[in-house]
């Protein structure tokens, strides 16, 4: 038996109806409100500030809301040299960020240690936290950072959001107030 449902809408006020999947709609919201956490550690942070200023204007992409609290941010931009002394702090801030969260390693130092093949510098922030995008440059131009953020938007749009939400398991990786070397080394274990 055929059932018909009348959808009532006023075509004069609402001219178009967009049909989409919930995943896509939610991802679309997320994509345009990526709040960065500026993890400014060295000179790349100056370029990051330039990206936020009027000439390059990061707010064109809905990312101008730089949050200095990890609780309120979505994407951590690691801008600068990560020393071993700072590494545990970066890791803790990353763990304090609420899911979903992404990481951009900005510049040579954050990506690989850069020119600092030295006793004091962590050889790439991907040793301690998972990185989504690496930006080349020393420091990278603001355009390069914006390119990475736009690529991140595309990545966010593709994410299976509902499936991820339904998946059981802890939202956060294990870890207390401090980290042991064995816990912190993601690259070697995965």
């Amino acid at each position: 038996m055929q059932q018909t449902t009348a959808i009532g809408y006023d075509s004069r006020l609402e001219t178009d109806v967009v049909c989409t999947r919930l995943d896509t709609a939610l991802n679309w919201f997320r994509q345009h409100s990526l709040w960065p956490m500026p993890m400014g550690l060295a000179c790349c942070a100056i370029e990051l500030m330039g990206t936020g200023a009027s000439r390059f204007d990061i707010s064109r992409f809905g990312m101008e809301v730089m949050r200095f609290s990890p609780r309120q941010s979505d994407v951590m931009i690691v801008a600068g040299t990560v020393t071993y002394k700072m590494a545990t702090v970066v890791k803790r801030l990353y763990d304090q960020m609420a899911e979903p969260k992404w990481v951009i390693a900005m510049g040579a130092c954050a990506s690989t240690g850069g020119m600092y093949r030295s006793y004091s510098v962590l050889q790439g922030v991907d040793n301690i936290i998972p990185v989504d995008f690496y930006v080349a440059g020393c420091p990278p131009r603001p355009e390069a950072l914006l390119d990475a953020l736009m690529k991140l938007q595309k990545k966010v749009l593709r994410e299976p959001l509902i499936a991820t939400l339904k998946k059981p398991g802890p939202a956060l990786p294990a870890g207390g107030r401090g980290y042991l070397k064995s816990e912190i080394k993601l690259k070697s274990s995965q």
Binding site: Y84, G113, R117, Y119, S120, V121, Y179, L180, K181
Partner: protein
């Protein structure tokens, strides 16, 4: 009064304890024979000769020589605008000398830095802790026998370190080389 005059005056007070002032590019250096008396010399330089500003204290590792450490004090007078350098050698077995924090308070952090990087201790320092590396880091990274790439270490809950990949380096260039091939950065060890 020039820096050389002031240096001679200081030498007049201590005699053979201080070397003859050596001048290089208008900079005057005195070498102190006994590091145990550095506080006394600095105190007099400040009170009597007007060196009221300690610019810096640095340290040199003369690896393979005795004494291994050279501690360098950069003195300046804001009144007479003269600069004086004091050097003193400290042996590796001792690795200790008196502090000058009683003369200039600013020496506190300079001495902490030398302790952190070189492992030379300063007797009588009010708060001799590491200043750049963290408490518990087992090495002194500015020593000549410490590799540039670093060593593994871990202080649970504080920080860890791993050796950096330097692919057989460090690569060193020779500035005085005849041609581009000789000046090229290469692995340079005592053997080659």
């Amino acid at each position: 009064m020039s820096a050389l005059d002031l240096a001679k005056k200081l030498r007049g007070e201590f005699g053979e304890l201080l070397s003859e002032p050596s001048v290089f590019r208008d900079e005057v250096t005195l070498t102190l024979a006994d590091p145990e008396r550095i506080g006394e010399v600095c105190g007099l330089a400040k009170k009597e000769l007007g060196f009221d500003f300690l610019l810096d204290i640095t340290s040199i590792d003369n690896y393979g020589e005795d004494p291994r450490w050279t501690i360098v004090y950069e003195l300046y007078g804001l009144g007479h605008k003269c600069h004086l350098r004091l050097k003193t050698g400290v042996s590796e077995e001792k690795s200790e000398l008196p502090t000058v924090t009683g003369v200039w308070r600013t020496a506190e952090w300079h001495e902490r830095e030398i302790y952190d990087m070189m492992g030379v201790r300063f007797r009588g320092h009010p708060d001799l802790r590491r200043i750049i590396m963290w408490e518990g880091y087992p090495y002194f990274p500015l020593r000549k026998d410490f590799p540039l790439a670093g060593k593994s270490s871990e202080v649970p809950g504080v920080a860890f370190t791993s050796p950096a990949p330097i692919e057989g380096g460090p690569f060193v260039s020779l500035p005085g080389g005849k041609d581009a091939i000789e000046r090229e950065p290469r692995v340079r060890t005592p053997e080659n």
